[in-house]
């Protein structure tokens, strides 16, 4: 793997009590009047693997897009205490974002797609292509640098999308139901590969999903959300150690946590509108 060592730059452990990102009373009301998210308080420490789990329409994407800075909260604050800030005081965390669709430039090769964030930063061509090739190799796509998205399978396109998110060596990777459109076998493989990269690299992940099983398999912590208005109903920890593999998937412990989370999700759905 070229450039492997640089991709695996493990960030220094955060001082205790200083999360990577802290959400305080975050609320989002869209112009249409929909209250999509209400009263979210959430600390995400460095190195965390957090899933946002909830039924469709409960505001998972809205919350994720607020963390990404793509939309502003209507009230409440989102602080990045450990990240650099620009002259106007706005936080400049290094973000990677993976959408539900691969969202690639169809006119660019896999390599150019993976190199896009670096190109926008103004990095010289040879340097950014080296790094993009490293990121592609990291997601198992060595040899496909010159291939266009059209000629890649759905799973491979998603891998390019992940390589693009990783190429800037982000502090935090935000993923919005990234594997929802894939078949189960491909999804399992991508789950394993994602965990492997996360363990090696040590960035933080916020992973949106509506699959109980996927969230339990991947995360250290699960925020169970409820709809109307969207809110975090409960947090569930998954104590199992990493690395996790097929053995974990079939263990009694996994089944037990899935049960707990399913019950929490069921309650969240049943209580909807009550708050």
């Amino acid at each position: 793997m070229p450039e492997g060592g640089t991709l695996a730059g493990v960030p220094p452990p955060a001082p205790p009590g200083r999360p990577l990102v802290a959400l305080q009373g975050v609320e989002k009301r869209y112009a249409t009047g929909t209250l999509a998210v209400r009263g979210v308080n959430l600390d995400i420490p460095r190195g965390e693997f957090l899933s946002l789990l909830g039924p469709s329409g409960c505001g998972k994407s809205t919350l994720l897009r607020m963390i990404a800075g793509l939309i502003a909260p209507s009230s409440g604050t989102i602080d990045w205490p450990a990240s650099p800030h620009d002259a106007r005081g706005a936080a400049q965390p290094r973000l990677g974002f993976v959408f539900q669709e691969p969202t690639l430039l169809p006119w660019s090769s896999a390599l150019s797609n993976a190199a896009l964030p670096l190109k926008l930063e103004g990095m010289p061509r040879s340097e950014r292509e080296d790094r993009a090739a490293g990121a592609l190799a990291r997601v198992g796509l060595a040899g496909f640098e010159r291939t266009y998205p059209r000629a890649l399978s759905g799973g491979m396109r998603m891998r390019v999308s992940i390589a693009r998110a990783l190429v800037t060596r982000p502090d935090i990777l935000l993923m919005d139901e990234p594997f929802a459109a894939l078949d189960e076998i491909t999804r399992f493989r991508l789950n394993n590969d994602l965990l492997e990269i996360w363990q090696e690299t040590g960035f933080t992940v916020v992973f949106v999903t509506h699959s109980v099983f996927e969230s339990v398999y991947l995360s250290r912590r699960i925020a169970v959300m409820a709809a109307r208005p969207g809110r975090i109903e409960r947090e569930v920890g998954v104590p199992a150690p990493y690395p996790r593999g097929e053995a974990f998937r079939t263990s009694a412990e996994y089944a037990a946590v899935c049960r707990t989370v399913s019950l929490a999700l069921g309650e969240a759905i049943a209580h909807r509108g009550a708050a």
Binding site: L105, W107, L116, L120, G140, R150
Partner: protein, 280 residues
């Protein structure tokens, strides 16, 4: 991490005489129909002894084309010049204005209605004015052809610039891309297929605009494109020559359409669905 083994393998394309096999029927069938129609025309005219000044048979038209080729080819050259100049100006202006529209909603709101006015005004109605105002008759013809060719490029490109996947727009925002970067690396490439299909429509329209304007200019105008030849031949009752000029106009239109289609295919073949070869 393990490599991926779900790579689709490209299928080799079967070729006959350098062209993909499934392309041949698309070339041969129209030619066959054309040949049959010409044969029927020739036979019908001869069998019914239709006079040449009413409807000449294809053989006589062909003879007229060969005989008058020196003067007709000069006219063809002039018509082609006007058409292409108008198309190039329309493409450049349409693209530039569309980019301007994409940069500012206000500019679009204030100017787009006038582009529509330009589009809906019949060219025959304003051609006389333009010919009066503009001294140089060729320039006047060029302006007429430009007016007709301009709108499809403008409206298609505007549509293309605005129909970018909004997730990609978000991605560019996330990486703090400048407006210029977003335009160059995202909006313009995404608008490319729209621009090219606009260009393809405008190619034919530019030719029509050039011909129509020359008809309006009439024999009084000092231009001598193909439309002038048709008028001239009409006054002299040289009906085969009229048909020969008409034939050249049709041929030019078809050639423009095919050439721009080829441009479209070459520019987009690597990524866009419209340029994908259909399998099977």
């Amino acid at each position: 991490m393990t490599g991926v083994d779900d790579a689709p393998r490209p299928e080799p394309v079967r070729r006959v005489l350098f062209l993909p096999a499934e392309l041949w029927p698309r070339i041969l069938m129209p030619i066959l129909i054309g040949a049959l129609s010409l044969g029927a025309w020739e036979w019908a005219v001869r069998a019914n002894e239709v006079p040449v000044y009413i409807l000449p048979p294809p053989s006589v038209i062909w003879a007229a084309l060969l005989r008058d080729w020196p003067s007709l080819s000069v006219s063809l050259g002039i018509t082609l010049q006007i058409t292409f100049a108008a198309l190039i100006v329309a493409a450049a202006a349409g693209l530039a204005l569309a980019v301007l529209f994409a940069q500012s909603k206000w500019v679009e709101l204030s100017l787009f209605p006038y582009a529509v006015v330009l589009q809906v005004t019949p060219i025959v109605a304003i051609a006389p004015l333009i010919i009066i105002w503009v001294d140089d008759i060729r320039l006047a013809l060029l302006i007429c052809a430009w007016i007709v060719a301009f709108f499809p490029i403008l409206s298609n490109t505007t549509l293309g610039l605005n129909s970018v996947d909004h997730n990609l727009v978000d991605l560019f925002r996330l990486y703090r891309a400048t407006r210029f970067q977003t335009l160059i690396f995202l909006r313009l490439p995404a608008a490319m297929p729209y621009f090219l299909s606009g260009l393809r429509i405008s190619g034919g329209l530019a030719l029509i605009g050039a011909i129509v304007a020359e008809f309006v200019a009439g024999t009084g105008g000092r231009a001598s494109g193909l439309a002038y030849r048709i008028l001239e031949a009409g006054y002299q009752l040289q009906i085969p020559r009229m048909f020969a000029a008409l034939f050249l106009i049709c041929l030019t239109g078809i050639a423009i359409f095919l050439a721009l289609g080829l441009v479209q295919h070459l520019a987009l073949r690597r990524w866009h669905e419209s340029a994908m070869r259909k399998e099977g």
